[in-house]
C-alpha cells in the first residue's frame, strides 16, 4: 500500500501588482503533479532549478499551501487539515534541508537543536532527553561532547548529520530530503549518502529525495519522477529513466550528465548536439498550445511519459 499519495497537486503563488497590489496572475509552481510513495522506497524528484520540485516537497510538509489537489498520508488529506490537526502528522514526516549552514540556528547548542522536535511532542525530563540526543548523535557518528557545541564549530558534513539527527528523533515514517548533499564535497557526500541508506534499512524509512544531481539520484532512488515547469514529464524506475528515456526533456537531462569515462567524450558531445537540434525543432510538439506538458500516459507497468 502507498504510504503517501499525491493527487493532481497544484501550488500557485500570486503575482501582485498594479493598483492596490491586486493579484494579477499566478506563478504555477506546481501544476497538477501526481505520484505515490511506497513504504520503504526512495523516490526521486529531479528537475532544473525552478521546476517546482522543492515546492512540491514543501507542500507535503504543508510549509506551502496547496491550491488544489490532495496529499493523502495514511488516510488523511494533508491539504484539508487545519494547523492543529496537522501537528500530529508532522511527527511522521520530517525534512532534511539543503543548506547545512542556514538550516541550523546558530544561537542554539546541538543539544537544543536536536531536542527541539522532542520538546514539541513529548514530555521528557532533561536527563531522558539528553540520553535520546546522545543516542542519535552516536547513530550519526558524532562525538558525545558535540552536544554542548554550536553549529559553527562543525564542518559542512557534520552539520548535515546534525540536521539528519534532528529529523530522526521523532522516528518519522517519511523523510523529505531536499538536495541533502548538493552543498557537500564528493567524499563527504559519499559519507552522507551511505549513511542515509543505512538509516533507511535500520528504521524502514521512506525517502522523498529531491535533487538536481542525476548521478546522486540514480544512486539513491528506485523510482524517479522528472519535473519540468511544475509538471511531471516522465516517471519510471531508475533504469527506465536512465537507459530508456522517452521524453525529449529527460533525454536532454540525461545527456547533460558528465560521464567519468573520458574516452566517451566525443560521442557524448555529438549526442548532445544532435539532441539540441532535435530539441529546437520538435520541442513544441512535446507540449500543448499553452506550453504545458501533457498528462502522463502509461507505457509500461512502471513507466509513464507525458506525450501527446
Amino acid at each position: 500500500m502507498a504510504l503517501l499519495n499525491v493527487n493532481d497537486l497544484k501550488v500557485y503563488f500570486p503575482i501582485v501588482g498594479g493598483f492596490f497590489r491586486r493579484v494579477t496572475d499566478y506563478v504555477r509552481a506546481v501544476d497538477g503533479v501526481s505520484f505515490e510513495l511506497h513504504e520503504g522506497e526512495t523516490y526521486g524528484l529531479v528537475g532544473e532549478s525552478g521546476s517546482g520540485k522543492s515546492t512540491a516537497g514543501k507542500a507535503i510538509m504543508s510549509l506551502n499551501k496547496a491550491a488544489s489537489g490532495e496529499i493523502l498520508f495514511g488516510n488523511k488529506d494533508i491539504t484539508k487539515l487545519s494547523g492543529s490537526q496537522i501537528k500530529p502528522l508532522r511527527r511522521d514526516i520530517q525534512m532534511i534541508f539543503q543548506d547545512p549552514y542556514s538550516s541550523l540556528n546558530p544561537k542554539k547548542r546541538v543539544l537544543d537543536i536536536i531536542a527541539e522536535p522532542l520538546r514539541n511532542y513529548e514530555r521528557m525530563s532533561s536527563v531522558e532527553e539528553k540520553k535520546v540526543v546522545q543516542n542519535y548523535l552516536d547513530k550519526v557518528g558524532l562525538d558525545s561532547e558535540a552536544i554542548h557545541k554550536y553549529p559553527h564549530e562543525f564542518s559542512g558534513g557534520q552539520r548535515q548529520r546534525i540536521g539528519i539527527a534532528r529529523a530522526l528523533t521523532l522516528k518519522p515514517k517519511l523523510i523529505i530530503a531536499d538536495e541533502p548533499v548538493s552543498a557537500l564535497d564528493v567524499s563527504v557526500q559519499a559519507q552522507v549518502l551511505n549513511f542515509l541508506q543505512e538509516l533507511q534499512e535500520e528504521y524502514k524509512l521512506t525517502y522523498l529525495f529531491i535533487g538536481h544531481d542525476l548521478g546522486v539520484i540514480r544512486h539513491m532512488c528506485s523510482r524517479i519522477g522528472v519535473m519540468y515547469r511544475g509538471r511531471l514529464v516522465e516517471e519510471g524506475t531508475s533504469s527506465e529513466i536512465y537507459e530508456n528515456p522517452r521524453h525529449l526533456y529527460t533525454k536532454r537531462l540525461i545527456a547533460a550528465i558528465p560521464d567519468i569515462r573520458p574516452e566517451t567524450r566525443r560521442e557524448k558531445e555529438r549526442l548532445r548536439n544532435a539532441l539540441k537540434e532535435e530539441y529546437e525543432q520538435t520541442f513544441a510538439s512535446y507540449f500543448d498550445d499553452t506550453g504545458r506538458a501533457y498528462d502522463l500516459k502509461r507505457i509500461s507497468e512502471t513507466h509513464s511519459v507525458a506525450l501527446p
Binding site: 532544473e48 558534513g157 544531481d213 544512486h219 550528465i257 558528465p258 574516452e263
Partner: protein
C-alpha cells in the same frame, strides 16, 4: 600550498581537482596575484611567457590581468558589480586594455555577448546582473574574461552553481571558444565528471600538494595515488549501482594542523603500513607524463571492497 609545479600549454585545458581546503582556489588567486600580499609568503616562480608574475609590481600586473590572463569566478552573483550594467562591466575591461573609441567598444561588447550565446545582446547589455539567470550571468562573466583575447583563462569552479543542462552548455561554450582562440585554460573543480568531459590534463591536489598529475585519459583509466583512487570510488555513477560508496576516512587537515613531514594522506589510509610511505614524499614519474607522489601507491588497496573500474 607547498611545492606545486605544473605547466599549461597553449590550447590545453588543465584541470585542478581536490576537495575544499586542498588549496585549489589559493592556487588560482596566486596565479592572478590577487591574494593579500601582507599575509602571504610566496616562494618560487609563476612564469607566463617571458615574465615571472611573482616578481612583477602592481602596475605591471594590472597590465596583464584581464588582457593576457582572464579569470572566471564561481559565484557569478558576488563576482559581478550589482550597480553596473552587464555591458558597462565588459567595457570596463576594454577601457583599461585597448584604445578603442566608445562606439567600437560597444560594438565589441555586443559581439562578445553574442559569442557566448546570449540571445538578445542589445537587451542584455543594459541589464543589471540580478536581472539575469545564473547561466546567463556565467555567460556574461565568460564574455568579460575573453574580452581582450587572453592567452590564459583561470576558471574557478565555473559551473558548480549551475544546473546540469546549463553546465553542459557552458562547458561546450568554453571548448568552442578555445577552438578559436587556442587559449590555455586552468579549470579548477571538484567534479571529476567535468574533468573527464573537457580537460586534457589533470592535476590532483591534496592538502596543498600535487599528489598526482598526468593526462586525463591515462589517469582516469589507471589512477595510482590512493587519494585519486578513493575520490573516483566515492562518486555515485552507473557502475556502482546502489552499492555503498567508498568513504575516505577522516577529513582534510586544516592548514594549521597540516603535517609538515611525511605523506600528508597517511592518516586517511591508516590500514596501509607506515613503512610504505616515504619520509619526504616526492613526485615520481611512473609512466611518461604521469606523476605520483609518495611510494604508498604501490601498496594501496581498498579495505573490504572491490575497486570499481
Amino acid at each position: 600550498m607547498d611545492n606545486v609545479s605544473f605547466t599549461v600549454n597553449e590550447n590545453e585545458i588543465v584541470a585542478v581537482v581536490g576537495e575544499s581546503g586542498c588549496g585549489k582556489s589559493a592556487l588560482a588567486l596566486s596565479i592572478m596575484q590577487l591574494h593579500n600580499k601582507q599575509r602571504t609568503k610566496i616562494e618560487g616562480a609563476i612564469r607566463y611567457r617571458d615574465s615571472d608574475l611573482v616578481a612583477l609590481n602592481e602596475a605591471q600586473m594590472n597590465k596583464l590581468r584581464g588582457k593576457d590572463l582572464g579569470m572566471i569566478f564561481q559565484e557569478s552573483l558576488t563576482a559581478l558589480n550589482p550597480l553596473m550594467t552587464v555591458g558597462r562591466q565588459i567595457e570596463e575591461n576594454l577601457d583599461y586594455h585597448t584604445d578603442l573609441t566608445k562606439k567600437a567598444k560597444k560594438a565589441r561588447t555586443m559581439e562578445l555577448l553574442a559569442k557566448v550565446g546570449i540571445p538578445l545582446p542589445e537587451f542584455t547589455y543594459k541589464q543589471y546582473p540580478h536581472e539575469l539567470s545564473g547561466g546567463m550571468r556565467q555567460r556574461s562573466m565568460i564574455s568579460m574574461a575573453i574580452a581582450c583575447n587572453p592567452s590564459v583563462i583561470i576558471a574557478d569552479e565555473p559551473t558548480t552553481a549551475l544546473d546540469v543542462t546549463i553546465q553542459a552548455q557552458i562547458l561546450d561554450l568554453l571548448k568552442s571558444i578555445q577552438k578559436k582562440t587556442h587559449m590555455g585554460i586552468i579549470l579548477i573543480t571538484h567534479d571529476l565528471g567535468v574533468v573527464a568531459e573537457i580537460a586534457d590534463r589533470i592535476v590532483v591536489m591534496y592538502a596543498g600538494q600535487v599528489v598526482e598529475m598526468g593526462t586525463v585519459l591515462r589517469i582516469f583509466k589507471n589512477p595510482r595515488h590512493p587519494y585519486t583512487r578513493s575520490l573516483m570510488n566515492s562518486i555515485p555513477s552507473a557502475a556502482t549501482g546502489q552499492d555503498r560508496l567508498h568513504v575516505i576516512e577522516g577529513a582534510v587537515p586544516s592548514i594549521t594542523r597540516m603535517p609538515r613531514q611525511g605523506c600528508r594522506f597517511k592518516d586517511r589510509i591508516s590500514w596501509i603500513p607506515d613503512n610504505t610511505h616515504e619520509n619526504s614524499p616526492e613526485l615520481h614519474e611512473v609512466a611518461s607524463d604521469h606523476w605520483v607522489r609518495c611510494s604508498c601507491y604501490k601498496h594501496f588497496y581498498f579495505q573490504g571492497r572491490k575497486e570499481k573500474r
